[in-house]
Amino acid sequence: MSKEKRSPMIHLAKRSEIDPKAAWAIRFGSVIVALILGMIPVMITGNNPIEAYGIIIKGSLSKPMYIKQTLKVAIPLLGCALAIAPCFKMRFWNIGAEGQITAGAIAASYFALYWSDKLPHIVLLVVMFLSAIVVGGIWGLIPAFFKAKWNTNETLFTLMMNYIIIGIVAYLQGGPWEGRKGSQIIPMFAKNARLPEVFGVHCGWIIVLVLTLLMHIYMNYTKHGFEVAVIGDSSNTARYAGMNVGSIMMRTMFLSGAICGIVGFITVSGANHTLYSGVANGVGFTSITVAWLSQLNCFAMIIISMVLAILTKGSNTLQTKLAVPASISGIVTGILLFCMLGCEFFINYEIKIRRNKEAKV
């Protein structure tokens, strides 16, 4: 057989259509692959990976108190993933959720610290909620403005905004808002600045579940959601259709920042009852994983945020029980993302292996 005539052993063909069930089966399979790969670092530490996964599950779900703590981790993750979803749909790489959470938290904390004796409980909470929306939204709007006007790189801009606002909190902590002099700690919020509890967990979980429903409707059944989707596919098409891409971008980023602001409000008012520079605690980054793993599907985010919360909470238990560093959750999260990103290829393309029979003819 001459060399020219030989067709390649493997070739790719784009799938025209794929059964959604098959697509989800491939995604599920890639999660399994990721969990198996995630065992490698555990084995390096000389522990049994099956036992380690067992400890992760037990440490996060085996007691009501553990479940409550896991839920507390999941609430901001879900809220923040909802905020990121429209941005990523638009191919606007907002990695500044961390900073937008912090901005919202600062606004809410201001009212919690200085207005708690002047306003009744519900009014105070509403004011905190609204101020967090506005400040978080503005913090998200700034990079979007420059992106719309001069096409400034939004990835780096939003990221730098994180460091700036976190630095500001560090300043407030050691300066104007410091409680006891020299303590570097902002005092705890008064009782009436705290979110009430429902079923033993602060009522933030109700807020984020409502947001999930609203965001699902917004992304799938409104004109705004449609515009976001068109820009994500092709901003030229959007321009051709007469959409004002810049203003849609700014609007979406304000919304995204506002939701992050709400998460910040929930975190300070519901979980921490105070403000410190690590208030966002990496949620802004982990929620990117949540948003992407769930394919920007709002309801899938509920499950994925729980999975990652279990991983985070369980890894802490793992550290105390087996002396496996808790940062293993970062490794497993990264591997999960890699596998999820990679598996899209197998959903979009079909690998055809050349059959020898054909070649012989």
Binding site: K14, P41, I44, T45, F88, W93, I95, F146, W150, N151, T152, N153, T155, L156, F157, L159, M160, M161, Y163, I164, G167, I168, A170, Y171, Q173, G174, G175, F285, T286, I288, T289, W292, A323, V324, P325, S327, I328, S329, G330, I331, V332, T333, G334, I335, L337, F338, L341, G342, E344, F345, N348
Partner: protein, 328 residues
């Protein structure tokens, strides 16, 4: 005057860290791959570089260990893990055609996880601190020129008092400049980043160029992380100080307009911004606000560089876009 010289010397030390990170990312981006995982790569480089030197010393004993060997092992270990990260990135974006932005973010999450895991695990396993012996630490920070040169007033401190990594970085910047502007292969690489379809038509193997540039670029960036741990952090695992450095390196690439020689002064300038709060007291400015200065400057730089519309100063045309031959 002495304060100023001390400031410059400290700026160069920190700037060297940024220089490696930036140079690696320039090489990667020249191929059209936007690798946002530099932060993770530098974490891994730091942990593995330190680990390499530490376990070498442990294996042969503190007395018998040779500084030069430890240095080379640290560089090789950091480069290897960075190259592996570049390979993962290329495989997912070039071969599996996934989105570069999200893959880069995933690499950051993965890399910071691996770096911290390795750093903490070494600490737990060895019980207490993982630190090199003082003799070995010396090798990483001592000036490579004879003391007589260092003692020359002003000039000696400014030019000859730095550790070996600065001079390696300078050589690397020169080599990259020469490679990108004067060699055929460098021209091919740039054409891959500018217009892959044209390069493909001309018979250049896009896949090979993208893979190699990203792998080598990742390795170079990782050395930056190792340099941080072995010089600024004093050969102890310290993830706090390394946080954000990789992202600054990505921003610096834009600041330097994708030119290796600009990376030299750009990174020293940003090195100065990073350490200024320690060395130069400004009355009335709280430290915490002072510390965010480099990030504010980065934002300003980003805005200004996006406002100028000079054809010479643009990113590689296909930066961040994947190339599929069949989808032209």
């Amino acid at each position: 005057m002495t304060t100023l010289i001390a400031l410059v010397v400290a700026a160069v030390t920190f700037g060297t860290v940024l220089m490696f990170g930036t140079l690696g990312e320039i090489l990667t981006e020249k191929s059209g791959n936007l690798n946002l995982g530099v932060e993770g790569i530098m974490y891994m480089g730091g942990a593995f570089g330190l680990g390499g030197a530490f376990y070498y010393e442990k294996a042969v004993g503190a007395a018998a260990s040779n500084g030069t060997v430890a240095l080379i092992i640290a560089i090789v270990a950091a480069f290897a893990i960075g190259a592996l990260a570049g390979l993962i990135f290329s495989f997912i974006t070039v071969t599996l055609r996934a989105n570069q932005n999200v893959t880069g973010l995933a690499l950051t999450i993965f890399g910071t996880g691996v770096g911290q895991f390795t750093g903490e695990f070494m600490r737990v396993k060895e019980g207490g601190y993982v630190a090199l012996s003082n003799n070995l630490k010396e090798v990483f920070v001592k000036p490579i020129f004879p003391q007589a040169l260092v003692n020359i007033p002003v000039v000696g401190k400014l030019l000859f008092s730095h550790n070996i990594f600065l001079y390696l970085g300078l050589i690397l910047a020169l080599v990259m400049h020469f490679y990108l502007t004067k060699t055929r292969s460098g021209l091919y690489l740039r054409s891959v980043g500018e217009s892959p379809s044209t390069a493909d038509t001309a018979g250049i193997n896009i896949t090979v160029y993208k893979y190699l540039a990203t792998i080598i670029g990742g390795g170079i960036s990782a050395i930056g992380g190792m340099v941080y741990i072995t010089t600024t952090a004093g050969c102890v695992w310290n993830h706090e100080g390394l946080a954000g450095v990789g992202w600054l390196a990505v921003a610096l690439v834009i600041f330097c307009m994708w030119k290796p020689l600009n990376a030299v002064w750009g990174s020293i300038l940003f090195g100065a911004l990073m350490i200024m709060y320690l060395r130069l007291y400004i009355p009335g400015l709280p430290t915490e606000i002072y510390k965010i200065l480099p990030y504010v400057v980065t934002v300003i730089v980003l805005v200004l560089s996006s406002m100028r519309n000079n054809r010479e100063k643009q990113p590689p045309m296909s930066l961040g876009l994947n190339y599929f031959r069949e989808e032209r």
